[in-house]
């Protein structure tokens, strides 16, 4: 089972790199999004530093949602999902591996880059590490909640928009606590409570979403 998991992970990452949707593209996306913000909001440092956590979290949400509709659809179109259903390895593990790969090229680079992007958005130095930590812990929740939407819309020709409509309401708690971590840290207070809640959400999503997504794939296709 671990072997299958690793094999799928490697396959996904290789695929992402070869179709030009690897880590570099994710990083470019964030850079551009962050650079556009000061033009839209005006270069006021104080305003930017207040909005920065929200901007970075929205960037994470967008980056996660943008690629998600292809996460399972590409495999649906060339029949790989059918093989996954027949595989001896539980479907839950397979979709878990796929979501993990998706996170590795979207959520992880954002979390690692957050301190750099944070400087551009004038985040308080004290909040820099908490920001990176919150993104590191919270972005898996976004990806895995999104995985459910991806599985539900897998057979739809144009599922991207519907996927966002389905998934975004469910990501609200993640955003609330993710932004709360940075806000508390920037004001010099302890951010243990929102960080624990964020961790809890992520852990629940990691467990529940592969089960729900696998059920969706089994039940809603043909």
């Amino acid at each position: 089972m671990i072997r299958v998991l690793v094999a799928i992970l490697v396959r996904e990452l290789r695929l992402a790199a070869r179709i030009g949707a690897g880590v570099e593209l994710g990083i470019m996306f964030f850079l551009i999004l962050i650079s556009v913000m000061p033009f839209a909001l005006g270069p006021d440092q104080k305003l930017l530093s207040r909005l920065a956590p929200a901007i970075l979290w929205i960037a994470a949400l967008l980056a996660t949602l943008l690629g998600l509709d292809r996460l399972l659809q590409a495999d649906e179109e060339d029949g790989v999902i059918d093989e996954m259903l027949l595989s001896a390895c539980p479907l839950e593990v397979i979709v878990f591996a796929k979501a993990l790969a998706h996170w590795l090229v979207t959520g992880l680079p954002l979390a690692l880059l957050a301190p750099l992007l944070g400087v551009m958005l004038a985040i308080a130095p004290a909040a820099m590490l908490p920001l990176a930590l919150a993104l590191l812990i919270g972005t898996p929740a976004l990806t895995f909640i999104g995985l459910i939407g991806a599985a539900l819309t897998v057979t739809l020709r144009r599922g991207g928009l519907l996927l966002s409509v389905l998934v975004m309401p469910l990501t609200v708690p993640t955003l609330i606590f993710g932004v709360a971590v940075v806000r508390e840290a920037a004001e010099g207070r302890s951010f243990a409570t929102p960080l624990s809640l964020l961790t809890g959400i992520s852990l629940i999503a990691l467990v529940v979403s592969p089960i729900a997504a696998a059920a969706a794939l089994r039940l809603t296709r043909g």
Binding site: L152, L156, L166, P169, L170, V172, P173, A212, R221
Partner: protein
């Protein structure tokens, strides 16, 4: 997921499964509907009369608090309908009850309407009492999220053509969205917010005056029955729709 039919020994389960026959459901529900509608209308008239003319005005909020008799029952139904849909989702996925997905599909727009009604009356009530139409407070935000989940579910129904597949997809989405229900219920206790904490269903009994409580409960019952009526009508329409689809399909494929 096992496909064995549920045991049909005791009375309740037997009734539950005898209704699995859409024909029998149509028969029973058609007989029930006029009575249900009459009781609903009577209760609603009585509740509104009591609420608007008989119940005392609030000593602080004055007459504006009478909107409570719409707002609170709508809020109860917003969550009640979603709970019912969650049960129906289990009915679709676990028990494979043939009417479960019909009930789920029928309920979603009704639930969304109750939720929208709750938000709108809340907004109208908020302006004179809190001085604001809208505040991003925990209770309001979580009810808004509930409305968005309803919209997502309705959109998912429309996106998938085949009823059975749509039903299963929606059932999974409904179960996932059900995490929001406890968040709404306890949001006023967990976060110290603008919205007042529970005053009817709370430990230690209601804090609301009996003269106000009575019309409120009557209205709650009336709203629940109203949902029952609308649900029956919509389920009947859905069943008839599906029959028509099947007939059209049969005609198109040339079967007798």
């Amino acid at each position: 997921m096992n496909e064995q039919p549920a045991p049909r020994s005791d009375g309740l389960a037997a009734a539950f499964w005898s209704l699995a026959n859409p024909g029998r459901f149509m028969q029973y529900s058609a007989a029930m509907l006029p009575w249900l509608a009459a009781i609903t209308a009577a209760l609603m008239a009585y509740g509104l009369y009591k609420g608007i003319f008989v119940a005392p005005a609030d000593y602080q909020q004055g007459e504006s608090m009478r909107i409570m008799y719409i707002h609170v029952p709508a809020a109860w139904m917003a969550m009640g309908v979603y709970s019912m849909m969650t049960l129906s989702a289990l009915g679709t996925l676990v028990w494979r009850h043939p009417l479960a997905d019909v009930s789920q599909k029928a309920a979603a727009p009704i639930g969304a309407t109750f939720t929208a009604l709750c938000l709108m009356t809340g907004s109208l009530w908020g302006k004179p009492t809190w001085g604001t139409w809208w505040e991003w407070d925990a209770r309001m935000t979580s009810v808004l999220v509930l409305l968005l989940i309803y919209f997502g579910i309705i959109a998912l129904w429309r996106a998938i053509d085949e009823p059975l597949r749509a039903a299963r997809a929606v059932a999974i989405m409904t179960l996932v969205g059900a995490v929001n229900l406890p968040i709404i219920k306890f949001s006023v206790d967990w976060w110290n917010t603008l919205h007042q904490p529970a005053s009817v269903f709370r430990r230690g009994g209601p804090t609301i005056h009996p003269a106000m409580l009575e019309p409120l409960l009557v209205m709650g019952l009336a709203f629940a029955l109203l949902f029952g009526c609308l649900q029956i009508v919509r389920m009947q329409a859905e069943i008839i729709n599906r029959r028509a689809d099947r007939l059209a399909l049969r005609q198109a494929t040339g079967e007798a």
